[in-house]
Symmetry: C2
Subunit: 321 residues, 2 copies
């Protein structure tokens, strides 16, 4: 047996898999069963050290974050996540690190009843790929190309804390925070909470949805472009993490609108679904931040109706050399 197979067997092969997993890790491929009447939603993401996370990241946080990001994509489609395939590229295998990585991975997937069904362990620069599949009732998935003029725009939870965590780590901003506040902010980056229950609750209610990974401005922009519509957003209605109250207004708005990595949902609701939305039993707060319009483009306003111009449009996936 090679070190790869030994390690996979030791840390990543569990017996307690979902009932729809006929065969998990250990063969050329996993074998799974899909219930009748369900479509599948399938997403894949790769995170690379130095680009998507700092080299100093703890192994358990890396694993948690990787899985959570893909779960969030499934949540944004209204899907029930079921199976994870994952690959890890790492320079050398260290037992303590690997145990921590496995702990972080399972703590995330266990809380969503997702089974790890296969993967690959590769020698190379630290990087992780996560592929999550989920069920969604036939024809019901939430998409980003189905928003209509007149629909109201909502976001879940609050925004800006994950971007603030990055700025603090990179020492791009100084802020006097208590240890508790600092921990809370860092956790928002390291352990994003995919809005799986909300996504499923919105299946018959929302007209479109997306998760906020690259910043609200950019991600809402994807809904607008795909749907061929525009929007106006009240900047002061965008919910921000309470720690952002320590920051002067303009910077706070920038963080909330351009800062990515929060993995909250942004979704639109037709006015005739507002009663249904109000009756939803959900644990996460949601806030109406604006409205879809015929006129193309995304327009931000302050509460006094003055336009607000963003200086950054969110995460750039490729920096210029």
């Amino acid at each position: 047996m090679t070190k790869e197979f030994d390690t996979i067997k030791k840390y990543f092969r569990r017996a307690d898999l979902r009932k729809d997993v006929i065969l998990g890790s250990g063969d050329d491929a996993a074998i799974v069963r899909v219930p009748t009447g369900q479509n599948l939603v399938m997403t894949i993401d790769t995170m690379v050290v130095g680009r998507h996370f700092f080299a100093s990241i703890a192994a358990d946080d890396l694993a948690y974050r990787g899985v959570a990001i893909s779960l969030s994509d499934v949540a944004a489609m209204g899907g029930l996540p079921t199976w994870l395939l994952a690959t890890l590229s790492i320079e050398q295998i260290d037992d303590e690190w690997m145990q921590s990585f496995a702990d972080g991975l399972y703590s995330c997937i266990d809380s969503f009843n997702v089974s790890l069904i296969g993967g690959d362990l590769i020698q190379g620069p630290l990087a992780m790929t996560t592929q999550v599949t989920g069920f969604v009732p036939e024809g019901k998935a939430l998409r980003r190309d189905t928003a209509q003029p007149g629909d109201l725009i909502y976001v879940s939870g609050n925004l800006g804390a994950a971007a603030l965590a990055i700025e603090l780590t990179m020492e791009q901003r100084e802020l006097s925070l208590t240890d508790e506040q600092l921990y809370a902010v860092e956790q928002r980056f390291l352990r994003p909470q995919p809005q799986v229950a909300l996504g499923q609750a919105l299946l018959e209610i929302a007209s479109s949805a997306i998760d906020i990974s690259d910043g609200l401005a950019q991600d809402l922009g994807h809904i607008l472009t795909a749907s061929g519509v525009g929007a106006r957003v009240d900047v002061e209605a965008v919910p921000t993490h309470e720690v952002l109250n320590e920051i002067e207004e303009r910077s706070r708005y920038e963080l909330a609108l351009s800062g990515g990595d929060d993995y909250e949902l942004c979704f639109t609701v037709s006015p005739d679904q507002l009663d249904a939305l109000a009756q939803l039993k959900i644990d996460v707060p949601i806030h109406c931040i604006g409205q879809i319009e015929h006129e193309l483009g995304l327009r931000f306003f302050l509460s006094n109706q003055e336009p607000f111009e963003l200086s950054s449009t969110g995460f750039e996936h490729f920096s210029e050399s």
Copy 2:
């Protein structure tokens, strides 16, 4: 729009997707439909520069090889491959390189009627992850834990050429070959041919199967371990690429038994299925190389019944630093 999204849109978004793809690339996740009565087989692989391919690899060969390797896993399960998710990590986006990469990727998946339904483009060290899903009739998938004593052992095609290509590139071996021979050998490494049709043909016939990625000795070893059996193999019955005739016997056998990357199938067949096997209409030659036995372990013999000891057991996924 960012450079990532522009590039994906330009090279990797096509309209002619399989009918079971409800929504391809461009949303948080793809949406697909699974026919009743089919299980899914799902595999994922990551290839990293310097470990799984040389930095000098052509973009189209990299893409082809990445996809072919995952298709081969589906083939080894007897699956009909349907959908590809892929991520590419690359330092900078170059249009000519990206066009070549897309050409290689589509030339592979188009020939197997597989649709690219999503992916991720990341700035980082050159690496590629491929996730392929396939259909297999409920309960019929070929596995590696189901070989029985008495079953005959087969391999498809011929072995050793891909490993020879690596040795030649790394200048670990000198061999006087014509340009045509050299090209043929290199293609075996760069453009492996997944045995998809053979895998499906074997669904009702083979008792177990695996694809040969890490070398026959190691991969047949996986069947033996998983099935709790042993085997004897006639080294001289193992089919080798004709170019290997230029190499002295011992080295030739080593290449055929330990050399990986050929992506042929190794499978076992119960004696009562031999008639069915003989009647199969398949394009690829298959050769019987040995037999499954009760006694654990893998034993190689020459035709004169003398034992043959291998000096290497195939690809080591993690080299020691």
